[in-house]
């Protein structure tokens, strides 16, 4: 009986059951044809092994694991992924908190702008720097009420990072998940998305050649509550080394964000060879509503926020006066994070961000704008500015 090559290969690799292994050995002793076949298999395997062994990197090219880990953890510029991991960790914390605290719904009280802005730092950094940008973007869109975006250039990167560290430290307390982030629900088309999301969903009518819609989903946003008291905020500012601002009078302030459903449309941009190397994700969601507690001046909180992310005192004071803090997301950008430009997209002012260095996926860009109460974010990799604007300009 001639054995099939798969059995003989498994025999060679000692991967058969012991009795089967013995059976094949017995068979081989009396079957020249199978012995020849085993010989051929062994030669082919040996050659494969030799060739594959020649593909090793030069020892000097292998990064040290400990240094790589340190860089990944520290979030210095070389490790662009770190902020994304922070986003994930934060979300995970929130999920764990909900199971500990249960679903306690409180009357919406207030939203602390400093906390919002700080979250923007973390989330935008995550969004700009790494592949799971879609999830970061979902958080970004879900967490903030937005009518416009403004970028503030920060020279003091160390200060900004230390502010992120303060937030990551948990000093402001554990956020409470009143409603968890929902499961991603695939929908068939634009109408189904709108029906599920509860608002008019727009998709591009005109996309770059080779673009196909791969996935359309609706995800219910989370309902998050974070309560902080004045001494805690003061301590956080101390940790961030902001010692020259005066906090307004309040006992307790609660950040409460009820995020609406986020609609995500994922596109693959293909060339005629039918393989993928570029893509886009269009996200849209209505801005959540936010109230400020009585007695707290938005401009003052905005100034504190600007100081906390590293703006010099005089600049912060001046800039805080010029920003409408009730409707503007202020995005602090340090030079090494990337660049941005002000463009017109979808008929309104928009911000186009470009990450400083390519990720594994390629050159990543993000376009952010707001129109008719809906916030839009278009993430793209290896797609040009004009390709992105073409998408934004053709939303129907």
């Amino acid at each position: 009986m001639i054995r099939d090559s798969g059995t003989l290969q498994a025999y060679l690799d000692g991967a058969l059951a012991p009795d089967e292994q013995a059976n094949v050995a017995t068979h081989l002793a009396g079957c020249e044809s199978c012995r020849q076949q085993v010989k051929a298999l062994r030669m082919a395997e040996q050659q494969a092994r030799t060739l594959l062994a020649g593909l090793e990197p030069a020892p000097a090219a292998i990064p040290a694991a400990s240094a790589t880990l340190t860089r990944l953890r520290a979030g210095i510029p070389a490790a662009k992924d770190s902020p994304s991991m922070a986003v994930w960790r934060r979300l995970n914390d929130m999920r764990e908190t909900i199971s500990e605290n249960g679903l306690i719904k409180q009357t919406p009280l207030a939203l602390r702008l400093a906390a919002i802005g700080a979250l923007v730092v973390v989330l935008l950094a995550g969004m700009m720097s790494f592949a799971p940008a879609r999830e970061a973007m979902a958080q970004f869109l879900g967490l903030f009420r937005v009518q416009q975006f403004t970028v503030v250039n920060i020279d003091d990167l160390a200060r900004m990072r230390s502010f992120e560290d303060v937030l990551e430290s948990g000093i402001l307390g554990e956020p409470e998940m009143i409603r968890d982030l929902g499961e991603e629900q695939p929908v068939a088309d634009q109408n189904a998305a709108a029906a599920l999301a509860g608002y008019a969903v727009r998709l591009p009518a005109n996309t770059p050649e080779g673009t196909t819609l791969e996935k359309l989903t609706v995800t219910q946003g989370p309902y998050i509550r974070l309560e902080v008291d004045r001494p805690t905020v003061q301590m956080a500012l101390d940790m961030a080394e902001v010692t020259d601002v005066n906090l307004p009078d309040f006992d307790t302030a609660a950040v409460e964000v009820d995020a609406a459903a986020v609609v995500a449309a994922e596109y693959v941009v293909d060339n005629p060879y039918g393989e993928r190397n570029a893509g886009m994700v269009l996200m849209q969601a209505p801005s959540p509503e936010i109230d400020l507690p009585p007695g707290i001046d938005p401009t003052t909180m905005g100034e504190i926020y600007l100081r906390a992310v590293g703006l010099p005192a005089a600049d912060a004071a001046h800039l805080a006066q010029t920003i409408d803090w009730t409707s503007t997301v202020v995005i602090p950008m340090a030079g090494d994070m990337g660049s941005y430009s002000e463009v017109t997209a979808d008929g309104v002012p928009a911000l186009l961000f470009e990450a400083a260095s390519p990720s594994r996926r390629g050159r990543e860009r993000a376009l952010l704008w707001q129109r008719d109460g809906i916030v839009y974010g278009l993430m793209a990799w290896n797609v040009t500015d004009s390709g992105m604007l073409q998408v934004a300009d053709s939303l129907r």
Partner: protein, 195 residues
């Protein structure tokens, strides 16, 4: 309020403590497996910078997975499977980029690899081209087998029955050897043309 928050940070079982434990576990896994994962990415792509990015993304994915003690004994096979798949995705992207220039595409992302010695790279490039010319699943199987995955781990990584791994390996070895001989001898490879 304050007494609510601060003691919870420093003592007792909180979500953050759980996260810390997970972090320590992650660090240990990273240190144990990073080199192996990087090397696998390099074997497939031949580009040190890209391999570093791929290894990093692989570990970020591990980080994002809930830690499952039942799975951890097999975390190495999982990491190698993921990095190999990511590497092949990247290869597909790179090869397409090489083939085509288009206004829509942005080719600034192409990263040169200064770490490689030219001669070594030529040999490696030829072997990789041969591997890339095989059906992708066959090539992935070869890379994963070479990285030391067992029959069961290969079956799991490629989502096939364990009983079929021997057959697939036999075919893959033979196909690889044949394709290599053809490339080394034939004019199709381009460089060794002596006709």
């Amino acid at each position: 309020m304050m007494t609510d928050h601060l003691p919870r940070r420093s003592g007792g079982r909180t979500a953050r403590d759980t996260t810390r434990r997970a972090d320590a576990e992650f660090d240990a896994l990273f240190l144990a497996h990073y080199t192996g994962v990087f090397r696998q990415a390099y074997r497939v792509t031949g580009n040190a910078q890209e391999a570093e990015d791929l290894a990093q993304e692989t570990f970020v994915r591990l980080y994002r997975q809930p830690f499952d003690p039942d799975r951890d004994h097999n975390v190495r096979a999982w990491l190698l499977k993921v990095v190999t798949n990511l590497a092949f995705n990247a290869i597909r992207g790179n090869r397409r980029r090489d083939k085509r220039e288009d206004a829509v595409f942005d080719d600034r992302a192409a990263v040169p690899d200064p770490a490689d010695v030219a001669v070594r790279r030529d040999e490696q490039t030829m072997v990789r081209e041969v591997l890339y010319s095989l059906p992708e699943r066959q090539a992935r199987l070869l890379f994963l087998r070479h990285a030391g995955l067992s029959y069961n781990e290969l079956a799991n990584a490629l989502d096939v029955a364990p009983g079929s791994v021997g057959t697939l390996l036999a075919r893959a070895h033979t196909a690889f050897a044949d394709a290599f001989q053809e490339a080394a001898a034939g004019p199709a490879g381009g460089n060794n043309d002596d006709t």
